[in-house]
Symmetry: C2
Subunit: 375 residues, 2 copies
């Protein structure tokens, strides 16, 4: 694995859409008892369900700390590749490599700096040194060269691309004080363009209200395909989310994408309000170096936090009335894919959902070059 | 990775000779300070030299504990794949999977039980739980199914095969009290036949005098090709090794191999006697759970402990008069391969040499079936 100091843009690489074919999905086994209740056992069951659902469609690698290796290898089915890797927590989207591809079908990874969603300003745990090493370890595992971008803090969940030059991010996250406060917005834009191979960036102001990642875009808005997104939505004007979603809707519909297309926005209802129960909180360790996950804490559920794998949509289910509505929307939007809802409250208690805990490796395959795509 | 309860022999798999084409070499980074002097730093330099020598000929994966990952990734050249993996020490030959192949060119691994060369009877350190998990982790990394053989204790350094039905082992090791004392010789033979796909086993009585592995065969005798071996030798009748080597020579020349061939034995001189110096011992931690490596301890150097990789012979060099003689013998015996001597006293101080710290993965390629080979 070479560590590259050039940029993907210079070398003809760009990040493909999640809806493009994957070679593999990475996940990281949940274990820390100050994030996950009851020794992480209930969360582990959900992670297992998700991994087993995905592996019906594409290869899956589960990364696992040494302490849980034997258990995980004997628990997961034999199709899943289990690889020992040290981590601080279990968020493959945010700590994993961002993979980019070129038009010959070669792939490389980007190794961003990770600081647990805000470092010493408003990060969620300390230390995060093991998480920060995962991206390059993944590159070695995938026999992919690696862009070293340790001077820029970014999580995979804070970016959404269409693979055709358009990127969606949130200001609340990308411009947060705990990340790249030394850079101005224009400098951040240039880095995103250089590394993701995009030419047009759509800035939403906010994500989901109270989202502890400083409102990652991947809980708020996702590409269905180029020119088409889903957006977390509520019609309830009393809900603080109303303003956030309305603002995002306006920004998305006022602009065009990198190819000059108007963007079609599909509204997906947010689930009804959910909070951590006393029983749930009681099962989570409270320690000085991690955010305390307390009773009554709002849970930022969103159906946008789904994962597109080869042939399927793996989506959250909260056992609320909106579940069916969201599933119906996805069924309609992804006619070629199987819709697989999985109960993920246990992941939500840790602060994320299915998209946050998965990371795709694009399939090495020749793709049309940009000029061909323009036609 | 499936865990298989059948045997390789049943499934048409067998262990190929080391001289057959490899897909990759595995090594494990040395780190423990009660095996390696001066914080393992001098040994790490030699491991690096060996890995860098091999990677000129075939891919290399270096496995490394989390604590040294960052250093190793930045120290080794980019061609070498660095993968985090927990280990107790650094002996890829003995703890790694034994890979077997079938005639379609598919490969699988064998996961033997490892007990640090003798467990609580005369093992060299405690615990060995991390080492004992490495073989199956390697199988997952190589996308190879895995024969689970945890009821039998074996290290890769205690077997030498010609890939055509013949196996050489030592009684001192395979019949030692610290390994499979519950089994009689005939049962052990059956297991070796079932798992390595061999039909004829040549038992040497001993390996190298004082060898702390209970005299592994890989320090004593190795196949150059089917029908031809090298054997550690001394003409000095005062040396306890004389009787060991003479006995081995007689056993090897009295028998035939699995194909009925007489075996040609090439004698390779042992290096002159070497001992651990006070300065060397002083740099090694002494702890209750590891063999104390003390001043004056005999070092069981042998040129037989070399590694055959694609296109090269990586061999030990001790800066003694026998170095050149041994290199000349190998140059003559391996005309198609480059002979690369590397100074390995620092590995020898830890109790082994180049063969002990490497493990090959056979190249997935169709090979002639046994009946074709018989012709």
């Amino acid at each position: 694995m070479r560590r590259l100091q050039s940029t993907p843009e210079q070398d003809g690489y760009y990040m493909p859409g999640e809806f493009e074919p994957h070679a593999r999905t990475y996940m990281i086994w949940p274990q820390r008892t100050d994030t996950w209740r009851m020794g992480a056992k209930p969360a582990q069951k959900v992670y297992t369900k998700i991994a087993e659902a995905i592996v019906d469609f594409e290869p899956v690698t589960m990364l696992v700390n040494e302490a849980q290796y034997q258990f995980v290898r004997s628990t997961l089915s034999s199709q899943i590749k289990v690889v020992e890797m040290s981590s601080n927590d279990a968020w493959a989207r945010d700590v994993g490599a961002t993979f980019v591809i070129n038009h010959k079908g070669e792939i490389r990874g980007i190794d961003w700096r990770f600081n647990a969603w805000g470092g010493l300003v408003d990060g969620l745990y300390f230390p995060w040194n093991l998480d920060d090493q995962i991206a390059k370890k993944m590159c070695d595992l995938e026999n992919a060269d690696c862009y070293s971008m340790k001077r820029f803090i970014l999580e995979g969940g804070s970016i959404q691309v269409d693979g055709e030059g358009t990127l969606i991010v949130t200001e609340s996250c990308l411009l947060s004080k705990g990340r790249n406060a030394n850079l101005i917005k224009e400098q951040i834009e240039q880095i995103l363009k250089d590394y993701l191979g995009v030419s047009h960036i759509i800035w939403l102001q906010h994500g989901i209200y109270h989202d502890e990642t400083n409102e990652h875009v991947d809980n708020m808005c996702a590409f269905v395909r180029p020119g088409e997104v889903v957006l977390a939505w509520t019609d309830d004007r009393e809900n603080p989310q109303y303003g956030y979603s309305m603002d995002a809707f306006e920004r998305l519909t006022r602009t065009t994408d990198a190819k000059g297309r108007k963007i079609t926005v599909h509204k997906v209802p947010i689930p009804e309000a959910m909070y951590m129960t006393p029983e749930e909180s009681e099962g989570i360790d409270k320690i000085p170096y991690a955010k305390k996950r307390v009773s009554g804490m709002p849970l930022c559920g969103s159906y946008i936090n789904f994962y597109i794998c080869n042939g399927a949509i793996i989506m959250p289910k909260f056992n609320v009335p909106q579940d069916e509505q969201a599933a119906a929307i996805y069924k309609n939007l992804f006619p070629g894919r199987k819709i697989i809802p999985i109960e993920t409250r246990e992941v939500l208690l840790g602060g994320g959902n299915i998209h946050c805990i998965t990371q795709q490796v694009p399939k090495r395959m020749k793709v049309l070059n940009k000029s061909e795509l323009k036609k």
